[in-house]
Amino acid sequence: MSPVILMFIGLAIFALGYFVYSKYLARRVYQLDEKFVTPSHELRDGVDYVPTNKFILWGHHFTSVAGAAPIVGPAIAVIWGWLPAFLWVTIGTVFFAGMHDFGALWASVRNKGRSIGALSGRYIGKRGANLFLVVIFLLLLMVIAAFAVVIKDLLISTPTAVIPTWGAIVVALLVGVAVYRMRWPLIPVTIVGVVALYSLIVLGDSVPVVLPESFLGMSPATVWILALFIYGAIASLLPVWVLLQPRDYINGVQLFVGLALLYGAVLVGALFAETEHNVVAPMINDAVPAGTPSLVPLLFVTIACGAISGFHGMVSSGTSSKQLDRETDARFVGYFGAVGEGLLSLGTILAVIAGFRTVAEWEAVYSEFGAGGVNAFVQGGGMLMEDGIGLPASLSATVLATMAVLFAATTMDTGMRLLRFVVQEIGEAARVRITKVPATLVVVVVGLGLTFSQGLGGEGGLRIWPLFGTTNQLLASLTLSIIAVILIRKRRSPWPALVPLVFVFVMSFWAAIDQLSGFADPENADWLLFGLDVVIIVASIWVAVEAIIAMRRAVNDPPEALDADARLEAVREEV
């Protein structure tokens, strides 16, 4: 089968989701009101609360939620065959991610732009808010560890990406200085920055950098992981305008370029290329390599971002909701933001199932669970781009590897920065003032401990992946339960939230239990991950209990008046 057929089926499902289901959600479930005064107007302060054009806000939202995770997850999950991954990404985006992200945005807009953490305190109780801190701490920790290993693997498997990856830091620093210190206009700076980045890609392609077998007694894997943590610590301590802001910006631009190249390659390849690409991966893989966990429930936590991700709820309610100009824009920003991420996942699936020429080539890459991952994306996508748009395979692979590394690195340094804040907050709760540098040191030590928990090569990194997915889905369950409680209180149909909630919760809880025996396996035990898993299971039970109590209360309480939000506004004005 030609990948272009799958591409169009996927695009059609996304289009139906956006034009039909999201319209239903907007009219019947969330009942968006154009006249509702959004927090960006009500609390406008020019800093956090700023009414923003919906297209720009969508760009912010989409690039904040799209990182390396929608590439890594699907690229691992096709080991069970392309059909389950394809279905989960498309249906998951339409009925799970879209409604979740849209719902989180709406719920936050109706509550003064408060974050999901604050909303969990209001709708599920104080314990719910504490639970949120625990889950977010675990999630960020796993992000740092898993992404360090993803980047390390890419730098070793694609040595041509080393120069553009580290060179991108210099480009970002120069862009930052040019924009804020020299006050140069942004558009020419952007063009020069992007050209410089792609020149580095061309340079890197001809000058691969391979580390020596042993450097100060350490393997290349250990050296890269240490270098990444040192970089992450420095980046997270620098003022944001110096590095993080220009890096995120260049990455955002790159994301659109990368998506266009990938989809363009599939389309042009199918129409004009001499070497036709077919889907070589099995539809359903009956002969999975030994040690591969069962499809149900692991598929649903292996692909978290790209189907449904709790992290999106944090972005929706943390920043996007404060900038929403009109409530009706929530459909475009929230739902279509999820569709954007679904597109990235779908592109990844196409690259890893149709990028190889034969089934044997595909099977050689997918020789064990976790072996595919982002390397398969780089290899497969590279081949697709070579045959589709004529970019040499090696250069295409360097482009994709650089894209994936930059995404992962951005997520890693932002994760370290956020985790530092969490450590400082925990310190404050314990009445110990922890300043920036010691808090960052704590983050580095704990992160390195988790990364090296299975050996100095960071072997445990991808083993953490499903656990990261589980935690992410747990966060999504928490958000969905808040949306369900709000809907019940307003006496609207809670089913669009309840069905995904129950499904995602059951799958992630089941996966957490399933993984527990793997982490305690005497031959390959990892007690650190075992401990983390136990915490996640306890947190899951806690989520379920709190959510059921909150929903029962919402059912028994008198219904919220139709004009409750409007009256709330009136009270605010009086105050």
Binding site: V47, V50, N53, V179, V240, Q245, D248, G252
Partner: protein
Amino acid sequence: MGRWADFRNGVYEYYAGPYRSALAREKRTEDDYFTLVVLGEALGVPDPAAYYSAEFLPTLYPEFHAWHRRMGMPQSPLDSVSCC
């Protein structure tokens, strides 16, 4: 021309938006330190540059109330300034 200006503003907004609050917070922290340095002498910390920094006092007054509240002092710490 109008469309080009819109596009330019849009690109700038795309650059600045996600970090607007972080930058504002950093600027506020820097301003707070500056206020502390300028008010050092008045708060009882000997400052050899007080003669020169006193010149800045009038520019700090509009923000003074917000500053002392942020620093955890509900009432003005200076007898000479009764902002609240």
